[in-house]
């Protein structure tokens, strides 16, 4: 009798132990997946930030000269999701027209809570080796905002007043963990003084 009780007790304890182990396993798997998502999202937001930084640092730059101040260097004032500006990106003494804009909703699977969009970068250059076609990237961008400011921090509504551009990005992982719709999220925001090459 005591042997049977021992076996029943051991089975119950063993099952409880296995149940805990499975539960632990499940939590660990979810956590591991989420950590992996975080890693991917961090990597994506860094990649996007570096592209923006590379281009925005050159706003208004022209090798060996100065862009004509009569020409508006920023071409899309007050448009919060479309930025076009002039810059000599490849340092060859010719002016390139650089644009950033979002593709339409629906290009990639989305939900109202997670409106993923493709970010397009277009460089119209005199350099024949540069493509003028927009190049899209789907890195989980769900929010993009360009802000335009005067030197004193007030919002600039007129083209000539723009001295600072603010870029805000939100990147999410397109693949949620199934059980919780939990997604890794990363933000990046930078205010960039564009006056170095714009000052008259």
């Amino acid at each position: 009798m005591s042997t049977i009780l021992d076996l029943i007790g051991a089975t119950v304890i063993g099952m409880l132990l296995l149940l805990s182990a499975f539960r632990y396993w499940s939590n660990m798997s979810e956590e591991a997946a989420f950590l992996n998502q975080e890693r991917i999202v961090q990597s994506n937001v860094t990649a996007l930030a570096e592209v923006f930084e590379h281009d925005l640092r050159k706003i208004g730059y022209l090798k060996g000269s100065k862009l004509d101040p009569h020409d508006p260097i920023i071409r899309t004032p007050t448009d919060s999701t479309h930025l076009t500006f002039l810059a000599d990106l490849n340092d060859d003494g010719t002016i390139d027209t650089v644009s950033y804009f979002l593709g339409p909703l629906g290009e990639v699977p989305w939900s109202p809570q997670h409106p993923f969009r493709v970010l397009y970068r277009q460089v119209k250059s005199a350099n024949p080796y540069c493509t003028s076609q927009p190049v899209g990237s789907h890195l989980g961008l769900s929010h993009l905002h360009f802000g335009y400011y005067k030197l004193n921090g007030d919002t600039a509504a007129v083209l000539g007043d723009i001295k600072i551009i603010e870029v805000t990005l939100k990147v999410e992982n397109p693949y949620a963990y199934a059980s919780s719709d939990q997604r890794a999220v990363a933000f990046w925001q930078q205010k960039r003084l564009v006056g170095r090459n714009l000052r008259r």
Partner: protein, 406 residues
């Protein structure tokens, strides 16, 4: 039972160990990604710091700084400054190469010795008001006197002052104040340089030394010219003055008008109290008479008027009903003014697209504030002067940034 427990413990340990490894890898990769971004940002800021340090050193040493290596922010910026010239323009190039934690970045800054045409208006010794709705659409230099504003006066470009401005409230609304869109700074005076070098430059241009010089530029690339009471002759501008400098030396004046389609500078040298004046006898243009500043941007012509004494809008029938001047005007020891401004009668509008050093009187006002003689004046800065200049136009002692590449 003991063996089973041991196997179970080892099994769990292996499984959890694998999980731990995955966790560690993800955490390591995430932090590595962040660290790499931080390093790149840091090295970029070090490169910018190097360029800023070089700019500061150039200002301290009046342009004689050649470069150095600066340890900063646990990295280093290797700074080099080189000089070169293109034509009569003098440039300095700063290259700041930064290194930090295995990353490197470069910032390149190109500077030039700024000409006086860099200022829309260069004023000395004046204390006066701008009032609403005045708009000053170009860099302004206002030294040895106080700039005063009342109401919403707009300064759309850089303002250099010798003392802080007096900013008073006014229209619209009674409590509006001036708006300095590119800021203002109190900085050192810029001395007016000697112009003798232009007499030397005129050796490769066209010069007269024994009489006044009369010039009328034509839009077909030629210039009609006359020396003293001689007869008019016509020649291509580039043939007569290959370097674009026309000069009346040894105390003579220049009379000028017409439409120029190349870069030219007209110079009048004084001798004692005689000569050194430039007379504008009729419209002096680089574009159509009805042009605004934005209309001359693609014009090939650019005119500089450099007088040891005054630049004068002549009192004559041609100037009695409007006068249009597209030029950088430099009146070294005198002013730019209208002849008999208070006795010539109403003369319309004096529209200057260019730059004025030492602006004087061009009109006289009655007690009611109405113009009673001379010109209404409209000054627009030719924005091309921000990166280009007439040949051998006088330079300031200031270096200015042409381009900044990060």
């Amino acid at each position: 039972m003991g063996k089973a427990s041991l196997i179970m413990i080892i099994g769990f340990s292996v499984i959890f160990g694998l999980f731990r490894m995955n966790f560690s890898r993800d955490v390591y990769d995430a932090s590595k990604n962040f660290t790499r971004y931080f390093n790149r940002t840091a090295v970029h800021h070090i490169a910018i710091s190097g360029a800023e340090i070089a700019l500061g050193k150039l200002a301290e040493t009046n342009g004689s700084f050649n470069g150095t290596t600066v340890p900063t922010m646990h990295g280093a910026a290797d700074i080099t400054v080189t000089d070169y010239t293109a034509g009569e323009k003098a440039y300095k190039k700063i290259v700041s190469i930064a290194s930090y934690s295995g990353e490197s970045d470069t910032v390149t800054v190109l500077l030039w010795r700024q000409p006086f045409s860099r200022f829309a208006s260069f004023l000395e010794g004046l204390t006066a008001y701008y009032i609403y709705p005045d708009t000053i659409d170009g860099p302004l230099y206002w030294h040895n006197g106080q700039l005063r504003t009342r109401g919403h006066v707009v300064f759309s470009a850089y303002v250099s002052l010798s003392e802080p401005p007096l900013i008073q409230q006014g229209d619209p609304g009674g409590n509006s104040v001036a708006e300095f869109q590119d800021g203002w700074t109190v900085d050192e005076d810029i001395p007016i340089p000697a112009t003798n070098y232009l007499a030397v430059a005129a050796n490769s241009g066209y010069k007269v030394t024994n009489a006044d010089l009369y010039l009328k530029f034509l839009p077909d690339t030629t210039v009609q010219y006359k020396v003293g009471n001689g007869s008019w002759q016509t020649e291509r501008v580039t043939t007569l003055a290959p370097n674009g400098v026309f000069a009346a030396l040894n105390g003579h004046d220049v009379h000028v008008s017409g439409t120029a389609v190349s870069h030219v500078t007209i110079f009048a040298q004084k001798q004692g109290s005689s000569g050194g004046r430039i007379w504008i006898d009729d419209d002096l243009l680089v574009g159509p008479p009805d042009a605004r500043a934005s209309d001359v941007k693609n014009r090939p012509g650019m005119i500089g008027l450099v007088a040891d004494r005054d630049v004068i809008v002549s009192k004559n029938p041609a100037n009695n009903n409007d006068c249009i001047i597209h030029a950088g005007i430099f009146a070294a020891s005198g002013t730019f003014y209208a002849e008999d401004y208070d006795r010539r009668g109403l003369s319309g509008t004096l529209h200057v697209i260019g730059s004025i050093v030492h602006e004087g009187y061009t009109g006289a006002f009655g007690n009611n504030g109405q113009l009673v003689s001379g010109f209404h004046e409209l000054l627009e800065w030719d924005k091309r002067f921000g990166y280009d200049m007439p040949p051998f136009y006088p330079n300031t002692d200031r270096l200015g940034i042409i381009s900044w590449r990060e």
